[in-house]
Symmetry: C2
DNA sequence: CATTTTTATCGAGAAAATGGATGAGTTGAG
DNA sequence: CTCAACTCATCCATTTTCTCGATAAAAATG
């Protein structure tokens, strides 16, 4: 009742159940048959109950207790395999965890596609996912709170950051059809634009403080996430830039309209994978950066 | 790289992390300090990586790999404790699992209250929950598909079933306010009742076949669950009997009205805990039956 | 009934774990 | 700086456990 059971014993237990007998399990595990008897008998003694009914019958049959403990044993061996797989990965230089910060502008389909395939390719590598607006993503990477960042919009060059283009993203000025700017024709001059409320994603990081890009209106409302921005614009409360993938359906079905504003710069932004230059990507992070590139490319085909 | 790590090693690993040192872990585990060194060193060799950074420093510090594997180790030891707890329970005669079949008429608050406290009282005993209408519950117990049944309505005596009353339940004939019967005054005679559609829970088991209780209408619709029945009656498609706890709010807020039908028998049903007489309740099932009794009593106070 | 195949058990040898002693190194107080 | 107290690594002798092979008893098979 004192000593722990052994993972070896549990594995033997499972093998006996699977193979249907002690001798068969011994053959499968390449060990002497007496070892199986010995192990099961020890395990039973340690747990204080009989696992198999084997009163002179050919095939030992699981007792009720054995059946109940079977699933625990399976869990344990499953956990062991996970642990060993992770250890093997770590020993080969794989990261134990990749911390990713993805900008709000990263299309959700791209993000989910990357994460899904990542999980399949690196089942033993954990993922920690942050999302950030504009500067916060770069900030997280600089602070070593994240190993890899996917950022969009205007890149501020930084001596400690290494960036690499992985895709493009379109951002359009949009408004509800009921909004005055929707009827203002093409190339609305800046003086007119400034008279209307602009909904802007606010950036709380110091990195872009004092630099609010593409803020043209005198009066702006600041929100912290795209969903809120989308809701406000849809309600006709103001206009603002939105990534194409998020408003594509709205535009097609007339719930939103694209604005043609004079001062608005080209609507295609590059998306970059960034890291600090003192800490190169590990194998998994490197794979992930590549995967983002292909995911952006594939998304572009059908989504933009 | 071949031999499995030992649960003992993993426990030592965790203790070292918790206590912050090899010696401290040795004291905590009442073992010699050399054992700790030996175990950690073996574990590291088996996993093929260093878990602690301990180059001549006072306190060994977890490596990155060690941090990643820590959670796996915790899972393993947690699983071990679960397994041992279950084994201890089984050794003392506890069931590994209780299979409960609850009649549709059992008020959900009663069911959840019982299951919640059961989980707390018997964390190592699994629960398999079936729900059944009328006869199917008794059927499941008779077939040994369930260890304990909570059935309501009319009890059909059976020589192999042992039943014990655990509570009461009220069933009322109800209809939507828009339904003709709602305006028919008190003690509507059977001839009138029969003219209207009745919504009935259909019972697919052979136990009550040919005996549809309280079916008074010429035209009936059969449904298999209370939620559907509730929806149909609410929509004014017919009338039918519903347990009080399910329609209490509807009655108070006027979405449904109670009917006063001449042929409808007393609306209070007893609820029974049943088992087969060849298989007495184990400790957990017995506790559960008692708990149903107190839960029904407590529910009656506030709920009926 | 003979044969094959099962699990249990025993004994000897191999392997591994244990506790204590020792040593090198670090930390912190005086 | 010196010393005491503490850290972890290592070695050693002892004990414990594991392993294999052989054997026995029992059951299924033909």
């Amino acid at each position: 009742m004192d000593a722990h059971p052994t993972l070896d014993q549990l594995e033997i237990f499972l093998t006996v159940v699977e193979e249907g007998g002690f001798s068969a399990a011994a053959r499968k595990l390449n060990r002497a048959q007496s070892v199986i008897s010995y192990a099961i008998s020890n395990l039973e003694a340690q747990l204080g109950l009989k696992l198999f009914e084997r009163a002179g019958t050919r095939q030992p049959r699981l007792t009720e207790a054995g059946t109940s403990l079977l699933e625990d044993a399976r869990r344990m061996i499953g956990g062991l395999q996970m642990l060993r797989a992770r250890a093997r990965g770590l020993a080969q230089g794989l990261e134990g965890e990749v911390r990713l910060v993805a900008d709000l502008l990263v299309p959700m389909p791209v993000l989910t596609a990357v994460l899904d395939s990542f999980r399949e390719a690196f089942p033993t590598v954990g993922v920690r996912l942050l999302t950030g607006a504009l500067g916060t993503s770069a900030e997280a990477v600089l602070n070593h709170d994240a190993d890899i960042g996917i950022v969009g919009g205007v890149m501020i060059p930084h001596p400690d950051l290494v960036s690499r283009k992985v895709g493009e993203n379109q951002v359009l000025p949009v408004a509800a059809p009921s909004h005055p700017l929707a009827h203002a024709g093409s190339s609305v001059p800046i003086a007119v634009v400034r008279e209307h409320f602009q909904i802007v994603i606010s950036d709380l990081s110091r990195r872009t403080e004092g630099r609010n890009f593409h803020v043209h209106a005198l009066n702006t409302w600041h929100v912290s996430d795209l969903t809120t921005k989308h809701a406000l614009i849809s309600a006709g409360l103001g206009w603002g830039g939105m990534p194409l993938w998020l408003v594509r359906d709205d535009l097609e079905e007339g719930r939103l309209v694209e604005l043609s504003l004079e001062p608005y710069p080209p609507s295609t932004y590059s998306m970059f994978a960034i890291r600090t230059n003192d800490k190169p990507y590990g194998p998994a992070a490197s794979w992930m950066a590549n995967r983002f590139e292909t995911a952006f490319a594939a998304f572009g085909w059908t989504g933009a």
